[in-house]
Amino acid sequence: MDSPIFGPLWLSAQLAGVTMVLLIILGTPLAWWLSQTESRWKPAAQAVVAMPIVLPPTVLGFYLLILLGPQGAIGSWWVQLTGSTLTFSFTGLVIASCIYSLPFAVQPLQNAFESLSQQTLEFAWTQGASKVDAFFTVAVPLSLRGFVTAAVLSFAHTLGEFGVVLMVGGNIPGETRVISIAIYDQVEMLNYSSAHQMSLMLIVFAFCVLLAMYLVNRRWSRL
């Protein structure tokens, strides 16, 4: 796995996979709250969630670097706790990716939850299901498409990130050198054939993942 091509690809896949799982776990309650709340803070919360779509990755990367660095609020605490730094480490990349890809998990989930009929939930409650029970036995099964979309988009978007990774993670083989960084590296070294190989692989992979998602969604929408 330390071949110049497969090493970075495997690292990218690991990063995207861990980020996807974390974002589904963390994004689901957030998306549920956004879909159900009538709080006046909802627009502000939605704006914060959507910010990574608008901001240049360098802005995000810059502040994350400060925050996660050994002098930063989170970074110094992490150093105390574990003795190692967050920046230029895989863990740091996971945190950065979760923030960078957050909207791609939260928005499809929120859309799915908002399209649920409120009365279907009310029927579940009056049938004796608690809020939590009704969430897992009614809301989640009826929002499966949203979960698939959220999982695929957050995975794919993490796979494609570059700027944030470069600023927070740098370019350490086996630790932070993900595929997009590796391609940039190869181009810098005028190693075009290897850049071609990796780029083509990524193009095929991205197409396959997105095609699979749309096929699954199309099949479900016919049910």
Partner: protein, 350 residues
Amino acid sequence: MNESRTVVSDTHVALQHTLHRDDFSLHVDVTIPAKGVTGLFGASGSGKTTLLRCIAGLENRNASGSQPVHKRGIGYVFQEPQLFPHLDVHGNIRFGSKRNGSPQLDEQRVVKMLGLANLLHRKPTELSGGEAQRVAIAAVLLRSPQLILMDEPLASLDQRRKDELLPYLDRLHDELSVPVVYVSHNIDEVSRLCDHLLLIDDGKIIASGGLHEVLARLDIPILYGRNAGTVILATPERYDSDFNLTRFRFSGGELQVPGEYDARSPNLRLRIAASDVSLCLARPQKTTILNILPAEVDDVQPTGPSTDLVRLAIGDDFLLAQVTRLSVTRLDLKKGDPVFAQVKSVTVRR
């Protein structure tokens, strides 16, 4: 102060619900019998559905006395059947019974009573509106509720589906002991299905009592016009096959009604609308009206710019007649006068 309390005892259900909103407030403190169907009747916007949602706990959640929805033991049949699309009919029925211990009613019996045996493995999308509503009712029955709320369960159905579902509701009424609150703005439905009546107007209960008693009241404007009329209990006696007429007996005499009715089913409900009753001082001769009954004027109430409602005592029952004020003046009708009521049409409600 918002309040939300529903107490079901062996004999009574006490409903105490207060809700204040900017544009509407509800103030209900009423007791209904713990057996039979109580109709909640009122114009649209009068607060029927809001009261039902308060009783279920779907509204007014922060009120004093409020319990979480799932702990109230109150079943809710929505106007549009709300089945779970990812479960089949059987899964939908089981959803509630699984969460509320062993049901008081046997699943087989409920499935049979609502005619669902052939639908158990269908998905909700494969059901007609009436079938879906029957499934919803079965699901609610099997969650062993202390009280069932029905919010115009027929309103979303076309006439054919309504006629299809009504006999099932009749059976529920006859076979169940769980109290039901049935919301409707259709007086015919109420007359057919309910034993008690709550009339609601602008968030307040303006009348409460037995069906027959409330329908005979003259002081309630929402019971004027096309809603005016009474229900009497009558027993079919003899069928005349030559003319396809059945002779019914009630406390005030006999009534002939088109159609054949089984003499073994006593106490059918007959609804007589006030607009189908006219009055004569002498027994009319040579008339096409079949049903002419001697009666006594009990009360006269002006109900519109040119119409009056006359209540007639006949046996132990009451009839209402909607007549013009001019006629009341000409005939000088007043309490205690003997008259003949001509009944133009009778609908058998069951």
